[in-house]
Amino acid sequence: MNRSFFAVFVLMHCASTASFAQNFGLGASGLYNFQTESIGAGLRGVVFPNKIISISPQVSYFFPFNKVHELTGGLAVEAKFARTRLFNIYGLAHGGYNRWISYDASALPNAQPDNWNFEGGIGVSGQKCLRFFAEYRYNLKFRETHVNAGLLYIFGCKGRSGKFKSKSRKADDCPAFR
């Protein structure tokens, strides 16, 4: 547990330093799987959140009270293909390991606890430093869709207005792309 706290502390510290400025974000989200009718929560980091291509390690957890109780950890690649001053639209691909905890309660033939999932989807995200995001994703293995919506904080940004903290530049809109 102490190691976990230490890792989170280091991550938060590094994220707040100049080297990570505008290059890293952390977020949390809620999930709903339409087919399994399950509610979950997710955590993610985003590397290069303002670049066209972003990389996002993610974990999601669907709670035990659901019909499907599972934990998934993986890596997503996001490609922004449309952007305005207010939001981005992106496609994503995600691959990860899935631990289906309640597999033995399922009638699915060959249900097993350890799975490799691949998902594709589409998402929209804001441009602010604290930005919303919402994704609609399709799980190829289980043929299920879910929405994943939450907030993402970009380190190195300046508060709610989305201004830079850069010393060398005047205050300006936090641009998603430059």
């Binding site: 399994t36 009638a107 043929r143």
Partner: protein, 307 residues
Amino acid sequence: MKKFQDYTVFAFALIAGLMLFSCSKDRIEDRDELNEYQSPNAYLDSKKQPEQDFLIDTNGTGPIVGNQGTLIWGSKNCLQLPNGDTIAFPFNVKLVELYTPKDMIYYRMPTVSSSRILETEGEIRLRAFKDGTELSLRAGCAYKVTMPDSAPQMDYMRVFYGIENGSIVDWTDDLGSLGVTQLQNPFWESDSIGYTALIERLGWINCDRLAGTASGATLTFTSEVDDLTNVAIFAYLPATKTVMQAYNQSMGIIPNGTFTKIIAIAQDAGGNLFSFYNELTVNNSQAVDVTLSQTSDASLTSLLDGL
């Protein structure tokens, strides 16, 4: 802006495509309710061969003749009480005759010896009682038994004895393992009546020989519609007249290449009769999918008669 609109249209088209794409609720679909059955043992018991009871109250030349032609010669002096005491007249001899696969199935008496199939010409259960106390044969004594067969041909059939373990009877030709010293010829001799042998232990007796090997195939029985827990499943191997029974939905060992007839019998809570029949040539271990269908006593009897 035009470009953005194009992208947006594309994005929503992709979403619509995903929505239309075949989604699945398989992970949360309820297990289909399986049809449940009760044990068919009451039905099978109602159909099985009765145990014949012969009251022996005087000396004679014999033989005792069973309903199906079994002949028995024996002496009162060969019988003893559990404590070794001799007995006096009268006493009872009881006999069950199983000469067809139908009767072996009704009696749930497969012909398998430690997972190895037996080629069989028939089974009998021969017991003796004095005032309700089961008797045994004295050491060195034997009862002569003839099993009827209109065309006995084989001279290699051995006397197998049943080892009762609960409701399951295993077979052995090793009298020593039953605590009896083998003194008589362990083979059945064929004659114009059938097969004749000297029996050195009362109980279940079989005229057969080992036909299987220690390796072969195992059949497992599964069903997507029926709960097989209480279903009685049998196999009949015509080439060796072998009857097998599945325990815990599994049966073996069947030599590869064996033509096999599968029969499953069950009753529902209302007493309705259900059955399943299938024929296959067993070439390797495999799962047999069972789907029971309602039948009648006459139909099932006809099916078993035709094995």
